[in-house]
């Protein structure tokens, strides 16, 4: 019941916000400010955005761009998963690997990786590979670090029990470490979605001819804000969808975790 009412409030708030935007825009359109500051060149109304959405959908432009972005996103994100999880496991289980890799991982993580985008484009050209690599650089660190923390925070006594009953290293890993680390790994995957979306857009800003990032950039350079907002809304919706899907997967694989999370929040209040 409580959840329902908070959802209702959220829905009302978003609806009211959009209505406020529409009315505000219409009032602004009547005032002299509109002409003086050429507001229609960089701001659009919800109705204008919706119209533009239908138009872009009709011409097929939106689907073409979404498809191009989705491909770059998928390649980069999958590469980040395939590299990030094993590397995180390796760093958490092997002391030597941790000592040797840590300086490089920490220093690249501290660097704003979008700054590498122009260099990557020079190295690997304007094709899909550069885009996927930029996405990869954004997405890999949350996955790697969360896998590392997840494996590191496995309870010692669980490992000891399996070892005491003659479990092999393999069994310790698959029966204890992996199941215990999965919630952390999935929350890393969730964090990585946002980073990957930013990576796609930044990669597409630098000279491509397709993709939602390109669409946003191109329409803003010709002063048509409505399609720009369409692109932004689609990207946000995509990010949110991926987020929700991963949350469902996490609840399905590790239903006990929700309980732990609530415990942790409670613990924070008691400090």
């Amino acid at each position: 019941m409580k959840l329902r009412s908070s959802q209702l409030y959220a829905f009302c708030s978003i609806f009211a916000g959009i209505a406020f935007w529409q009315i505000g825009y219409m009032l602004l359109a009547r005032s002299y400010l509109f002409e003086a500051f050429a507001i229609n060149l960089f701001l659009s109304s919800p109705v204008g955005v919706a119209q533009s959405f239908v138009e872009l959908l009709g011409t097929g432009e939106l689907l073409t761009h979404s498809y191009a972005s989705f491909i770059a996103f998928s390649y980069g994100y999958l590469l980040a998963t395939v590299v990030g999880i094993p590397l995180g496991v390796l760093m958490a289980t092997t002391k030597k690997a941790n000592y040797y890799l840590d300086p490089w991982v920490s220093s690249i993580y501290a660097t704003p990786r979008v700054a590498l985008a122009p260099v990557i484009i020079i190295w690997f050209g304007l094709g899909l590979f550069s885009k996927a690599l930029i996405v990869f650089l954004g997405a890999v660190f949350p996955i790697l670090l969360n896998t590392y923390t997840g494996i590191k925070s496995v309870k010692e006594n669980l490992i000891e029990v399996v070892e005491a009953f003659g479990g092999s290293n393999m069994q310790v890993f698959f029966k204890v470490m992996l199941p215990d680390a999965i919630p952390a790994i999935i929350s890393g995957l969730r964090l990585a979605v946002g980073r990957a979306v930013i990576g796609v857009v930044v990669a597409e800003w630098f000279g491509t001819e397709a993709g939602l990032g390109y669409m946003v950039y191109d329409y803003s350079m010709v002063f048509r804000p409505a399609p720009v907002f369409v692109g932004i809304v689609v990207l946000i919706a995509f990010g949110h969808l991926a987020f929700v899907i991963l949350e469902r997967i996490q609840r399905w694989i590790s239903p006990w975790y929700q309980f732990q999370l609530e415990k942790e929040v409670e613990g924070m209040g008691l400090e």
């Binding site: 701001l43 704003p112 857009v201 932004i232």
Partner: protein
């Protein structure tokens, strides 16, 4: 024997140093023997030369100064607005109900996408850059301030009330101190986003700044210069991060910081 003991004692540091040396050496060797094309790959030695070259010409300091000004102004505005709205949402139920969905959407959404709109709305000057840095920095501060205020321990609030404390006293004696650690975390998270904002805004059109330097050097195939920019950013981010971590420990020494 003594050497072996020393190594075991500081194994982590020794390994880190040897890893960095080996990595740089491998980079240099691959560059020198296999690639041999300064347009594509540059070794650490060339980056070091480019660094001192740019430093002695004074060019580097100018770019750093420009980016720093954009960063600090946008960051400060973001911090003030973020704390203001965070406190408002934390103490007023109505404000929370109205703003909460929007804040959550904006916190998770890649707000940096709005950068091109900021440029066309506010021009190529410093105002649009401050705007982009602001939009990047504001949400982590806001979200963490709000979370910090709402997670204050109810029993402490009750204790102050039971001894006749006023609402203001509850706020200054309980709410603020218990919100400080999370607020500091928000300030730290914002640094990264603000730097990314400054860089992206400079990519779009500017005459100076580290982001401009990287973009311009890349276009002229001066890869070494671009790398100097990237390294300066890494150092800047690291430095700000450490300063804030130090401040955190001074302001809220009772709190056990995880990161």
């Amino acid at each position: 024997m003594k050497m072996a003991g020393l190594y075991r004692l500081h194994e982590r540091k020794f390994d880190a140093i040897s890893s960095v040396i080996l990595g740089l050496l491998a980079w240099e060797v691959i560059d020198y023997t296999l690639v041999r094309n300064p347009l594509i790959l540059v070794g650490p030695s060339q980056i070091a030369i480019a660094f001192f070259d740019l430093l002695t010409k004074g060019e580097l300091l100018h770019h750093i100064y420009v980016t720093f000004v954009e960063f600090i102004l946008g960051y400060l505005v973001g911090v003030f607005v973020g704390i203001g709205f965070g406190v408002l949402m934390g103490i007023s139920r109505t404000a929370n109900q109205i703003l909460n969905p929007w804040v959550i959407i904006s916190y998770n959404a890649p707000v940096i996408l709005l950068a091109p709109l900021f440029i066309i709305a506010l021009g190529l000057g410093i105002v649009s850059k401050i705007g982009i840095v602001f939009i990047g920095a504001v949400f982590p501060v806001l979200f963490n301030t709000y979370a910090g205020i709402t997670t204050a321990d109810g029993r402490l609030v009750e204790a102050v009330r039971a001894f006749g404390g006023t609402k203001l006293q509850v706020f200054t004696k309980v709410t603020v101190p218990s919100a400080l650690p999370l607020l500091m975390t928000g300030l730290r998270l914002s640094v990264g986003r603000a730097i990314v904002g400054a860089i992206i805004s400079e990519f779009f059109g500017s005459k100076a700044g580290i982001g401009f330097m990287i973009a311009a050097a890349s276009e002229e195939f001066e890869t070494a210069q671009a790398f100097v920019g990237v390294i300066v950013l890494a150092l800047g981010g690291y430095l700000t991060f450490e300063i804030l971590k130090y401040t955190e420990r001074r302001i809220a020494p009772w709190h056990d910081f995880k990161v």
